[in-house]
């Protein structure tokens, strides 16, 4: 029986690179998988875009919206959102128009008689409303009122503006004039008592700006002189989100305020998470007595009251009045917040340390740094990132709270918290001053929280098999 003797040619070496069983889906790394999951979570994605938008608003905003957040536009105090109002340019230091007064025989004192001919002198504008009226016989004084609504009776004439001597039969109102309708009333005063009779004049106040102010703010063309510019109409700066109680632009203040809020919000968690990682990692990895001692110290730090330390640091820093408390705030946040992260990391490390693959790696001669870098750290990363995203809104909130109570930034530096504090005073009359900064705080905190939620879902290993 002749059998075939195979030769070397009959054999062909298999290509070592060829795959045996082929999987028809692309292989995904852990982070690719997290991203895929996160992307399918619409809520988290929306939050992520808000966070990115916020960062752009903060970093790019002031470059595009070049308005000084400290500039006080007293012509437009507490204005609701508006785009470029027009204003009449008026001359500086115009004397109030004088009204000559003819003596009236005091024979016919009639307390039921209201002052006649209450009238305007000149155009009523926000730099002054000039009023005059005919004298009443026998009065001791005149009382002038200003109402924002039509008066109903003699007890409802609005704000008492001034009490004037009988020889004064004109008045210039300069007080906090807004561009709106006012109702001026004049009442005679006899023997210290106001008469019931009154005369009312409705006045619509126009927006105006002093020439010097317009010039200072560069609202006039270069060659404008008082002679040419006065009487013309110019466009004031626009305030898309309105102005605050000193006429400062809300949008600019929100942008600059975001810098403070986000600086604390991102820096503090970043630093204390790194400290917590190192501390917790070391405790967990070494275990034993060192672990016990380290964690007891962490417990001790957790028990320290934050606000007290914040104040102590402020003193220890030697900060004088009127100096920003941002430094001590950052320090206090970092020094007192790391134990939470440290505990989390230690727990994770303790668990991972006992895993079979760690034991296997160790038997194969892996060194400690290799184990930490290759196996432990990547496995801790997930929880760490989640705790970081949850720490950010907490820190932003803390900053807002501290600035709200006046422990944070100092005027004129804005911060969302201090803006809320300013806005709360005028909440009923000018709600936008409170609403915008409050909205920014709420949306930011919500966005970071939802993003953290989404990240946690995406990173949870037990949910990895799904979808």
């Amino acid at each position: 029986m002749v059998s075939y003797i195979p030769t070397a040619e009959d054999f062909q070496a298999l290509d070592s690179a060829r795959e045996g069983d082929r999987i028809d889906r692309p292989s995904l790394s852990y982070w690719q998988d997290v991203w895929r999951r996160l992307r399918s979570n619409r809520r988290a994605l929306a939050s992520l875009s808000i966070v990115v938008g916020l960062l752009l608003f903060t970093l790019m905003g002031p470059l595009l919206w070049r308005v000084d957040p400290a500039l006080q536009d007293l012509e437009q105090v507490s204005q609701p959102p508006s785009l470029g109002r027009y204003a009449l340019v008026v001359a500086d230091n115009t004397p109030a128009p004088t009204v000559t007064h003819t003596a009236i025989s005091s024979a016919a004192v009639d307390r039921e008689q209201a002052a006649r001919n209450l009238r305007l002198l000149g155009t009523p504008h926000s730099e002054g409303v000039n009023l005059a009226w005919d004298p009443l016989p026998g009065v001791d004084a005149y009382q002038l009122y200003r109402h924002e609504y039509p008066p109903r009776d003699a007890d409802d004439l609005g704000l008492p503006m001034a009490r004037l001597m009988p020889q004064e039969i004109s008045y210039r109102d300069l007080l906090g004039l807004e561009t709106r309708q006012y109702y001026y009333s004049i009442v005679g005063v006899y023997n210290g008592k106001e008469a019931r009779a009154y005369t009312t004049l409705p006045v619509v106040v126009e927006q105006a700006i002093l020439f010097s102010e317009a010039e200072y703010r560069g609202l006039l063309s270069g060659d404008a002189t008082p002679e040419t510019a006065v009487g013309s109409s110019i466009r004031l700066e626009s305030h898309p989100l309105g102005t605050d109680y000193l006429g400062r632009d809300m949008l600019a203040r929100l942008m600059w305020g975001a810098r403070t809020s986000l600086f604390i919000g991102i820096c503090a968690p970043l630093i204390f998470v790194i400290i917590g990682l190192a501390y917790g990692g070391l405790a967990g990895y070494s275990g034993g007595r060192l672990d016990g001692a380290m964690m007891r110290f962490a417990d001790f730090v957790i028990a320290l009251p934050f606000l007290l330390f914040m104040i102590l640091f402020k003193i220890a820093f030697g900060l004088g009045p009127g100096e920003s408390g941002i430094g001590p705030m950052l320090l206090a946040l970092v020094l007192l917040s790391w134990p939470a992260t440290a505990r989390l990391v230690r727990g994770q490390v303790l668990q991972i340390r006992e895993e079979a693959y760690i034991a296997a790696a160790r038997m194969m001669g892996a060194t400690a740094p290799y184990l930490v870098l290759r196996h432990i750290l990547p496995n801790v990363m997930g929880v760490l990132l989640v705790s970081l995203t949850f720490a950010i809104p907490t820190a932003i909130f803390t900053e807002a709270f501290l600035s709200f109570i006046g422990m944070g930034v100092v005027p004129p530096t804005p911060s969302w918290g201090s803006m809320c504090n300013d806005g709360i005073r005028t909440m009923l009359s000018h709600p936008h001053e409170l609403m915008f900064p409050a909205l920014f705080i709420s949306v930011t905190v919500l966005a970071f929280n939802l993003l953290g939620d989404g990240l946690r879902d995406a990173m949870d290993a037990r949910m990895r098999s799904g979808t």
């Binding site: 409802d156 704000l159 008492p160 503006m161 004129p412």
Partner: protein, 546 residues
């Protein structure tokens, strides 16, 4: 909006639970009204009281020798008539003045009370007032017994107060709470608990304090033994709420729980107008100003720096555009508009104050001179002390901006509570201060002596021999014409030397229930007085007390 408000009112309520039955703002049936107090009165004894709330209550439950009518004219209180000479004041007391236990009020009660004010054991803040009388200064210093005070009761109904120097305004001054009577036997019987509670008090005023729940509420009822009880229309005044928050007090008013809301903020004024409430204005006589620290080494000790600030600070702009509350008036002098001159008009009309000629260029010239004199390239940042009131912060931020914009000066804000601000001022730990000064008595001297080198309230340590000499002279004469000339000269010194920069004379807007009238307000003593307040009948006529 109503329901929105009541939520806030409810919040205000929870802060101080009303222990009295809920009383309406105005109760025509029982002839009572309700008010809110800002704070718990600190001391309800006239010997030690200093704060505004104590003064308000004490002005209802005690009466001095001289008092004021509803139009603030001086009228006899316990004293029926009086006589003031250069060296003494004599008071003849009315025989029908009684304490709330029916005993008569005698001259001995005044002598005892005034001795107690001077007694260093009581450490009364207003003890210095007793320096007016012989031995007063020595008693305060503990060098002589209180019984040696130069005030004597000739008999039960004649009181003689000897005066160290002629004091033109003594009759006006004697309306002050520290000059009220205290009955010795009752005071001693309380064994140190005098005026600690409603039961430990004896009244000689129109009202008696009948309930006092500390920190929560008070009730005052008409005093049946008061000599002039028929002139007092109300039967009781309730103070069921004590809260410092002006918004809470305004909301209590809007909810018809109190009859008056003082010190309205801009948003509250707008709300009150929307609800068609009656608004009134009141000037409390206080002048607010920018004070400087004159201590060695402070840049603010430099005259040209102060002139630079004076040249760019516009009091009118701040008053009208930043404060924006009617009743506040721009100030150009330390002496407010209500002070009287000697020719029938006001002191300001007689001696009109000079207004600074505002100019940024001149301000910068002064600043350049100041830098040269101080030998610095840049003026170091200046710290401005201010109170923790939100309105003050707004004014300070405005000032900060004006200085940065016109002079390039960096101003740092130092907000402090009142006591801390005073401590820092005394220690000289500031450059500028937003300060205010309210009158203690009805005379320009209450303002003028503020910057004498010996005045403890001259916390910036301004010192000017001419100023001191002028005040020393004015203190020793009663000739009103010469005194006013001196005050006019003081006014000039303050302007030329920029001792202070006046900012505004404070005014308030307050809302008053339309059903009441006769609320007395005055710029010294216990402001907000309801002794003559009455409830208007529904037909619009004046309610008649029964």
């Amino acid at each position: 909006m109503r329901s929105f408000l009541s939520v806030f009112a409810a919040l205000g309520l929870s802060a101080s639970p009303p222990l009295l039955a809920v009383t309406p703002a105005v109760d025509p049936v029982n002839n009572e009204i309700s008010i809110s107090l800002e704070q718990e009165p600190q001391w309800l004894t006239t010997i030690k009281a200093t704060d505004a709330e104590s003064s308000i209550v004490l002005d209802h439950i005690t009466e001095g020798l001289i008092t004021r009518d509803v139009d603030n004219n001086l009228i006899g209180g316990v004293a029926e008539r009086w006589e003031l000479t250069d060296d003494k004041a004599t008071f003849w007391l009315r025989k029908n003045a009684r304490w709330s236990d029916g005993e008569p009020v005698t001259a001995h009660d005044f002598v005892f009370a005034w001795q107690q004010v001077a007694n260093p054991q009581n450490a009364a803040e207003y003890a210095f007032l007793m320096r007016l009388f012989p031995n007063g200064a020595e008693i305060i210093a503990g060098e002589m017994p209180p019984e040696t005070l130069g005030v004597e009761a000739i008999d039960d109904h004649t009181l003689v107060a000897h005066l160290v120097t002629p004091t033109a305004y003594f009759i006006d001054l004697v309306t002050f709470i520290s000059f009220r009577p205290v009955r010795e036997d009752f005071y001693r019987a309380q064994q140190g608990r005098y005026a600690a509670d409603a039961v430990n008090m004896l009244s000689n005023g129109p009202f008696i304090l009948t309930e006092w729940v500390h920190g929560a509420s008070m009730r005052m009822e008409k005093n049946p033994y008061y000599w002039n009880r028929d002139a007092i229309p109300l039967d009781a005044i309730n103070a069921p709420y004590i809260t410092e928050d002006p918004n809470a007090r305004f909301n209590l008013f809007m909810d018809d729980k109190t009859a008056i809301a003082d010190n309205l903020q801009i948003s509250a004024m707008k709300m009150a107008m929307q609800e068609h409430q009656k608004l009134k204005s009141f000037s409390d006589g206080t002048v607010y100003y920018l004070g400087f620290n004159y201590r060695e080494g402070r840049s603010t000790a430099n005259l040209n720096l102060r002139r630079a600030i004076q040249s760019v600070f516009d009091a009118a702009e701040m008053t009208y555009k930043v404060i924006g509350v009617p009743g506040n008036l721009p100030a150009y002098t330390l002496f407010p508009r209500w002070l009287k001159g000697d020719d029938g008009q006001s002191l300001q009309a007689q001696y009109p104050p000079r207004k600074p000629d505002l100019s940024v260029e001149r301000g910068r010239e002064y600043l350049a001179m100041a830098k040269q004199e101080l030998g610095v390239e840049e003026i170091p940042p200046l710290t401005i002390l201010l109170s923790d009131q939100p309105q003050t912060a707004k004014q300070a931020e405005y000032f900060q901006n004006v200085m940065a914009r016109n002079l390039g000066l960096e101003i740092r804000l130092d907000k402090q509570i009142f006591k801390q601000r005073l401590a820092k001022m005394s220690a000289g730990d500031y450059d500028l201060v937003m300060a205010g000064w309210g009158p203690d008595y009805n005379d320009a001297m209450t303002f003028a002596d503020l910057f004498t080198s010996w005045n403890a309230n001259n916390r910036g340590r301004y010192s000017n021999p001419e100023y001191d000499a002028l005040i020393t002279e004015a203190l020793q004469i009663t000739d009103q014409r010469r005194r006013n000339q001196i005050f006019a000269r003081i006014q000039d010194i303050i302007f030329d030397d920029v001792v202070i920069i006046p900012q505004y004379e404070r005014g308030f807007i307050y809302a008053q229930d339309k059903r009441i009238d006769g609320v007395r307000r005055y710029h010294t003593g216990g402001d907000l007085n309801f002794n003559y307040t009455f409830i208007i009948d529904e037909d619009g006529s004046r309610g008649v007390p029964d």
